[in-house]
């Protein structure tokens, strides 16, 4: 009972204001819980109905559904179209749907035993009604009727069904308004900045929401989660460093533009594939620029300053890296061109070592592992392990060299695991004070702008978890991690009904990168891992990080195949769902 009363008591006993603050400390986590829960139910609760794009009619009259844009045909069980006939190879062919609705087929392991209308093909178009023969096994490609398509569309879970995204966004808006009021009450300066910033944030999110409504897309959960995390980040900015709020918003604007641009490109697989080469080149250029112009901040030379603006090229390279790594099925199986990608990774790794940015190196490495793992699905696994072990060895070697040659890296590693023995020096000051502040915040936090973390360097970036826990409470810290983990789970879940491996690889790599960023960020702060100075997606203060996070989210949208959910996915029947 006394503990409950403590919530509402201020320094001068019970006042209207102290009761308001106390109530808010309880209400904010509750609202956040509701926002995350509603989004989670919607993102993780949908039925995964396979989409049928065409039918294959066998000579026996049996109909096989073609459920992806890229379909592996073969004898092995993990094939998308399993043809259990002795003459058919394990990996026989890939049947690919093109952007214009047409189809093509590629020989991958048929050794010439692939024919279309009686003519041998290595890779060529297939029209509806064409006879396809796999080592003598005959079948005909048949289209899906309009009625069938309509039925399918109707039976699929519509995005936001039962969990209106509009209502969740409304809840988020209320959350943001309460945060604004709380910040204004707790801070005497910069009130206008805080109000304007949150006002702009709220406007942008609703414009984006209605914009998508306008093109009949209703899935907004992923964006809602992003805006939720940004609200926390902006709240932290407002509490400690309001001068940075506009910068964050501008970065967010640019990020959203990139998100929309990339999202629209991804609708069209051919465009997306062309984008890869551009991205690969751009990534190299960015790093070369970094090597030439980079300035050292906190020991890492990963900053570029251009005309008063500063940014971290490695953040944008993440995006290029994913685009470069993503690939379509026929390419994955026919060309096996993983080696080029390995060299690309090696180049990036070398750059990061030279720039002394080991946090980013770890992130890229995990992204690389994700991409390599997915792209090598038809490889003998031994080769993959070999490459992985090789890369790991290089990374470890680089880390050892860095620890020997760079004092700040050595300090961070030598304090790791026993920071309480070094509460006042480089080895443990940040972690111990973070833990003290997390403890001080308790489950519900001290209140926005009432913490101590803001006096500490890098508290709104590397140590942001402690900052959130101190001012918003441990519950909010946990929810912030849940929200991010949920996006990862969503991608894994949707991969079952994915259209092209291009999207699956892109989204999985993006999510793996975010997960590992969160792992390094949070566990570095609480001394489960050495502190590496990595940002928490959307929450940490940083313009480049904000931009790359939004852009990477386009991959998530591209694999959201729920009915009428995503602008990055073309409507599956012409005209779509008008209801």
């Amino acid at each position: 009972m006394n503990i409950i009363l403590d919530f509402f008591r201020g320094q001068d006993g019970f006042t209207v204001l102290s009761i308001y603050h106390g109530t808010l400390r309880l209400v904010l986590p509750l609202m956040a819980l509701l926002i995350v829960f509603r989004s989670a139910r919607s993102l993780l609760g949908f039925r995964r109905e396979p989409e049928v794009w065409a039918w294959l009619r066998l000579a026996t009259g049996e109909l096989l559904p073609v459920t992806h844009w890229e379909n592996l045909m073969g004898r092995k069980k993990s094939a998308d179209i399993v043809l259990n006939f002795a003459t058919v190879s394990k990996n026989h062919a890939v049947l690919t749907r093109l952007d214009d609705g047409g189809w093509s087929i590629t020989d991958i392991g048929a050794k010439g035993k692939l024919e279309v209308n009686g003519r041998r093909v290595l890779s060529g178009p297939v029209n509806y009604g064409d006879r396809i023969s796999l080592a003598g096994l005959e079948m005909v490609l048949e289209p899906v009727s309009r009625q069938e398509a309509k039925l399918q569309a109707d039976s699929r879970t519509k995005a936001g069904k039962g969990n209106s995204p509009g209502l969740t966004l409304l809840l988020l808006t209320l959350f943001q308004l309460l945060v604004t009021v709380e910040l204004i009450l707790n801070r005497t300066e910069d009130r206008v900045t805080i109000m304007t910033s949150f006002g702009i944030l709220i406007c942008i999110q609703w414009i984006l929401f209605f914009g998508q409504k306008l093109i009949r897309r209703s899935g907004f959960e992923v964006e809602t989660i992003a805006f939720f995390l940004i609200s926390i980040g902006l709240g932290i900015c407002g509490a400690g460093n309001p001068g940075e709020m506009y910068k964050q918003l501008i970065s967010m604007g640019i990020g959203i533009a990139m998100f929309l641009g990339l999202g629209f490109c991804l609708r069209d697989l051919e465009t997306a594939k062309r984008l890869r080469y551009l991205a690969a080149g751009f990534g190299v250029l960015l790093f070369l620029a970094n090597l030439a112009l980079g300035r050292t901040i906190n020991g890492s030379r990963n900053w570029i300053f251009i005309g008063g603006f500063s940014f971290q090229p490695s953040e944008l390279v993440k995006l290029c890296f994913i685009l470069t790594g993503a690939s379509t099925m026929d390419r994955i199986v026919t060309r096996r061109n993983l080696l080029a990608f390995v060299f690309y990774m090696a180049f990036i790794g070398a750059c990061l070592v030279v720039l002394n940015d080991f946090g980013s190196a770890a992130i890229f490495f995990v992204g690389f592992l994700a991409i390599a793992l997915l792209r090598s699905s038809s490889y003998p696994s031994g080769m993959l392990v070999l490459v992985g072990v090789g890369m790991m060895a290089v990374l470890v070697l680089a880390a050892v060299l860095a620890i020997e040659h760079f004092p700040h890296v050595a300090d961070r590693f030598s304090g790791y695991g026993h920071v309480w023995e070094h509460p006042f020096d480089n080895k443990g000051y940040q972690q111990t004070h973070s833990l003290m502040c997390i403890a001080a915040g308790g489950l519900f936090g001290l209140g926005l702008g009432k913490g101590w973390m803001r006096y500490m360097a890098a508290s709104d970036t590397d140590l942001v978890f402690a900052y959130v826990c101190e001012e918003w409470g441990l519950i909010m810290g946990v929810l912030m991690i849940f929200a991010l983990a949920m996006l990862g789970l969503f991608v894994v879940r949707s991969s079952k009904v994915a259209r092209s491996s291009f999207y699956t690889i892109g989204a999985t790599a993006a999510m793996s990168i975010w997960m590992v960023q969160a792992i390094l960020n949070v566990f570095g702060t609480v001394d489960f891992l050495p502190l590496t100075g990595v940002t928490f997606p959307f929450v940490s203060n940083g313009g480049s990080s904000m931009m790359s996070c939004w852009a990477m989210m386009a991959f998530l949208k591209a694999c959201d195949t729920r009915q009428n959910a995503s602008f990055a996915v073309k409507l599956s029947t012409k005209g779509g769902d008008r209801g």
Binding site: H68, M329, I332, T432, A439, G442, S495
Partner: protein, 457 residues
């Protein structure tokens, strides 16, 4: 697509690592947040490097320390000096463990509201220790180095845990100058908790307990002492030939020859087992203080060394607090209360902590304890008149530990076998000479003082 989508579980693994790590952090938060928040220098709790914890009071309500008035100690210089090691000094040479362990209970931290509901004025910490007894014990030590500990083996409250030498925290000596002739050697060490001493003959109680546990018939045996005994080619000696003695007399005489035989029959296993039962080598934790570990390593001991180990020499070491609890266990039928220093803590008038009364594991059987009580009472009746308090059955054993070239360490341990005054005690006087000569008078003075305090309650 199927095999590719199966491999997306890579992201799932990462998400699981994230969530699993988060879970283990949340568990750590619930276990350790109190400690984190009251860590020295914690920005929410310390203002200008000072912790506003409130007052620390002894068992009679006397204020020993108050954070209110610029970290001030008792007005009585003797009490300040006698409680220094409990409270810590201003320079942090002697850590203020009570304060850092109980800070969260004192200023009203809780994990729900964090420090936001923290009291601006600290609370009260009530100790089981008596300032008066501490002062008398320190006086009785009379400048000699060592420690005196007394605790109630029924309830667990520590009444006395004094460490000598000490100094007045308001007037600390400048230890950098060397005008003290070693008077302050090891002054920062809280000897009661943090020292490990060669026990000398008080260790014979451990050996005897082990022997009795193995074969109770040993109490009827008689032992012959010719002043020396050759074990494995080397001599075990007594100060004089004790002749033929019962077990009772062998303990009262503290006859090394007899105990060499007893240890020889007992063997390494039996002695090690008993040492484990009395937690000789364990680190005990008492309200923020942790004890030094004792030591009994027989791995390279030949028969002669084993005999010396049974006598309390060789490489044997005990911690005073731990051994005092063993005394309590003998007094109390084989199990004693775990010791504690803090009886309660309160914050803003609300109780936030009360001592958790726990029993030790069984250290010896009820029967062995009973036999040992009889033997130790016999010791006092025949040998240690200096500790005998009329009307009270004080039981004890002395020890004179040979430590290198220095003068011997005097040890004296025992208990009062009384319902009304269930007190176990230990006295260690470094360079004190014979155990009973140095230790018994101190034990008696301090026990009488404890009884006085208890009578007044």
């Amino acid at each position: 697509m199927k095999s590719i989508s199966a491999r997306t579980s890579f992201a799932l693994i990462l998400a699981s690592i994230l969530l699993f790590g988060l879970l283990s952090f949340v568990i750590r938060f619930f276990l350790y947040a109190d400690r984190w928040v009251s860590f020295v220098g914690s920005p929410h709790v310390y203002t200008n490097g000072r912790l506003d914890t409130g007052d620390i009071l002894d068992r009679s309500g006397e204020v020993l320390y108050s954070s209110d008035r610029d970290q001030s100690y008792s007005d009585n210089v003797l009490i300040r000096t006698a409680t220094l090691h409990l409270l810590g000094d201003r320079e942090g040479n002697i850590p203020a463990r009570l304060i850092s362990s109980f800070a969260s209970k004192l200023f009203g931290y809780n994990k729900l509201t964090g420090t936001s509901a923290m009291e601006t004025k600290g609370g009260e910490l009530h100790l089981s220790v008596s300032a008066q007894v501490q002062a008398i014990a320190l006086q009785a030590m009379n400048g000699r180095k060592g420690t005196v500990g007394v605790y109630n083996y029924r309830s667990g409250e520590i009444l006395c845990a004094v460490s000598s030498p000490s100094f007045d925290p308001l007037n600390p000596p400048n230890l950098d100058s060397d005008n003290f002739d070693g008077r302050y050697d090891g002054v920062y060490v809280y000897r009661f908790f943090r020292s490990a001493y060669t026990p000398g003959s008080i260790f014979k109680l451990t050996t005897l307990a082990a022997a009795l546990e193995q074969d109770p018939a040993i109490q009827n045996e008689s032992f012959n002492c010719s002043g020396s005994l050759i074990v494995n080619g080397e001599r075990i000696t007594c100060p004089r030939a004790h002749g033929t003695q019962s077990l009772e007399d062998a303990l009262a005489n503290s006859c090394n020859c007899a105990f060499a035989q007893i240890t020889g029959e007992l063997g390494k296993e039996g002695l090690l087992k008993q040492a484990k039962a009395i937690r000789l080598e364990e680190k005990l934790s008492v309200d923020g203080f942790s004890t030094a570990r004792g030591h009994l390593d027989l791995s390279e001991a030949d028969e002669n060394a084993l005999a010396w180990a049974g006598i309390g020499q060789y490489t044997d070491q005990i911690n005073p607090c731990q051994y005092m609890v063993f005394m309590g266990a003998i007094a109390n039928g084989g199990i004693a209360a775990e010791p504690w220093l803090v009886s309660s803590a309160s914050c803003a008038g609300r109780e936030s902590y009360r001592a958790d009364r726990q029993q030790t594991p069984r250290m010896l059987s009820e029967q062995t304890a009973k036999i040992l009580r009889g033997l130790m009472r016999h010791n006092v009746e025949t040998m240690y008149g200096a500790v005998d308090i009329p009307g009270l059955p004080v039981c004890a054993k002395s020890g004179t530990a040979e430590v290198g070239s220095d003068a011997n360490t005097a040890t004296f341990a025992g208990f009062v076998a009384s319902e009304r005054y269930p007190l176990a005690f230990i006295v260690v006087v470094e360079s004190g000479g014979a155990g009973s000569v140095a230790g018994a008078p101190i034990a008696r003075t301090v026990l009488e003082s404890c009884i006085n305090v208890m009578d007044g309650e």
